[in-house]
Amino acid sequence: MGSRYLARKFGQALVTIFAIVLLNFVLFRMMPGSPERVLLRNPYLTAGKVEQVRKAWGLDAPLLPITIAVDPPGVSLNVPNQLTSYIGATFSGDLGYSFKFRGAPVTDVIGQRFWPTILLIGFAEIIAITVGLAIGSYAGWKRGSLSDRVGSGISLVLYSMPYFVIGMPLILIFAAGLGWFPTSGMLTVGATYSSFLDQLFDFGRHLVLPLATVSLGLIGGYSIIMRSSIIETRAEDYVTTARAKGLTDGQVLSRHAFPNAMLPMVTLIAINLGYVVAGAITAEVVFNWPGLGTLTVDALSARDYPVLQGVFLLLSVTVVLANLVADLVYAFLDPRVRS
């Protein structure tokens, strides 16, 4: 693989990440909120207390590393300021402190919620990719048939449903109605388990409905794109050749059409990973799954900007890296890209 190609891609990713950090800084300063606002409903609040809190959070320092003094006139550089301290802190892994959790480090708050999301999204991706590709490739291969119409129809409907629209009926039927599964959470709180298997089953019971929700939500998109990818591949010369060689329809699909149609899918899946986390926010909210999605919505309703910023940074960087991986994988699979 060309090292110049590699270097360029890495360089671009780095620039993008830096730009995201800058955007984060700018947005943060534009936010109407500040930590002292949570104190405002105290009947005994004083103006002095507000000032004290602002100082404690470093919000009284100048924004940029340059100050222009009027009296006496002059410009001083590299004064203590919010921009450089923010960038320095961010790149050293310090994302600041949560407003809502009264000063808990954002990295800790996010860290607690990272794995539940990864588990939920990871499993959902596996299921959705498997099922979506199966439906899509079969529908595309049998284009125009009844199974294509049914498969594509279902895919399109699923594709049109926000996650919570899928999740709410599931709760209504399987949790509230039939009582098969718990309505919320990831583990039964306060439960003590006799064995690891017990705990795993408890986890499994809680996982079923949110997992079904996210998987169903993802299947539509994968299936639709796989279908059109197969249809395009189907028209290619080598497929016709393979057919002419006397291979059965199934063999042509599994040996020739499917692998080639997968090429664009690989990048799509890689890129999608980052968006899926953000997209599944409402699924987590509906089931109170203790992941990044509920954290985002909680932080939004408490206007906990440092946590929102942290989640945004994490997700954006994930997408950038996923893009980078997709580029590299694509280049690896398809040598034409590199030139």
Binding site: M30, P32, S160, P162, M168, V319
Partner: protein, 318 residues
């Protein structure tokens, strides 16, 4: 097709253009009519469009807490076909009025997205050089950002900018915020697509000719490039509309909506927070949810059909 291009006289050019356009339109309608999925989508959209224009004719004015006609969470009956919400408001009434609010937000957000995306796409594609690469850097940057989280972060910033006044141009401020947020976070795809089409148009003969006879870049973009990307813009607008309704619903659901303007997402939010799922009040959830899915589905169907008919080569999405 004749080989040598001959410039027709100016006066007949305009007539010829109109004739061609009419012919194109007839051809387009014929091809669209042959697409069952597109037609189904169109019929659904037309229905919702009519409902959105005149909800009062169907169900009377929007019910409020004071004008509610039922009791709390009544199941569907002859009086309330879709039951009532926790304030005793008729769900049918709310859902029908929700159509207007959801569709208006979708329409305005789409307008912002498309205008923004098309202008940037055409300018970047046509101008080329530094402007192009600068604009495309920004576009790519927006493509990478997880739009939904960005929308969540932007909402309070924009609310701060538009102020806390209740209305702006007759639209409630909270809705303006949602519209602007959707616009800001979704123009990039359109810009990308329009730019690549513009790039190929720029190389065509008639643009060169216009340039030779001394037309300025603004004129060329308006008179020559724009008419040739308008197909693409229409198809893109339809798909964006679906996305906008989808995003509005989701943003309202997580609490960025306006309780005084019940869009479908807002009704679903109210259903969730009033405990409708646990109280098994399915009638509170099903109508707005089905409407959202139908509208998004219909826009997607129409969008796909248009995409296939108008730009056979421009498939693939990103």
């Amino acid at each position: 097709m004749t080989a040598a291009p001959v410039d027709p006289p100016v006066h007949s050019l305009s007539a010829e253009r109109w004739r061609l356009r009419a012919q194109n339109l007839r051809g387009f309608v014929r091809r669209f009519a042959s697409r069952t999925d597109g037609v189904i989508g169109f019929v659904i959209l037309a229905t919702f469009g009519i409902v959105a224009i005149a909800p009062e004719l169907l169900v009377g004015p929007l019910q409020t807490a004071t004008t509610a006609t039922g009791h709390s969470l009544e199941a569907p009956s002859g009086v309330h076909l879709f039951g009532t919400d926790e304030l005793g408001r008729d769900i049918l009434n709310l859902t029908i009025h929700g159509a207007r609010i959801s569709m208006s937000i979708g329409l305005l957000a789409t307008a912002i997205t498309i205008v923004f995306g098309a202008v940037i796409g055409i300018v970047a594609g046509f101008t080329g050089g530094r402007t192009d690469s600068a604009l495309m850097r920004v576009t790519d940057f927006f493509l990478v950002l997880p739009t939904f989280v960005l929308a969540i972060i932007l909402a309070p910033v924009i609310l701060d900018i538009v102020g806390t006044g209740a209305e702006i141009f007759g639209i409630r401020a909270t809705l303006v915020v949602i519209i602007v947020v959707i616009g800001i976070t979704s123009w990039a795809t359109t810009a990308r697509i329009i730019r690549s089409q513009t790039l190929s148009i720029r190389e065509r003969m008639f643009v060169d000719r216009a340039r030779v006879i001394g037309a300025g870049p603004g004129h060329i973009m308006r008179r020559h490039v724009f008419p040739n990307v308008v197909n693409l813009i229409v198809a893109q607008a339809v798909i964006t509309f679906a996305l906008a309704v989808f995003t509005e619903t989701t943003l309202s659901f997580i609490g960025l909506g306006d309780p005084f303007a019940p869009s479908w997402g807002q009704i679903l939010n109210a259903a969730q927070s009033s405990g409708a799922p646990g109280l098994e009040a399915w009638w509170y959830i099903a109508p707005p949810a089905i409407c959202v899915v139908l509208v998004v589905l219909a826009f997607t169907l129409v969008g796909n059909a248009l995409d296939d008919i108008l730009n056979p080569k421009m498939r693939g999405r990103r």
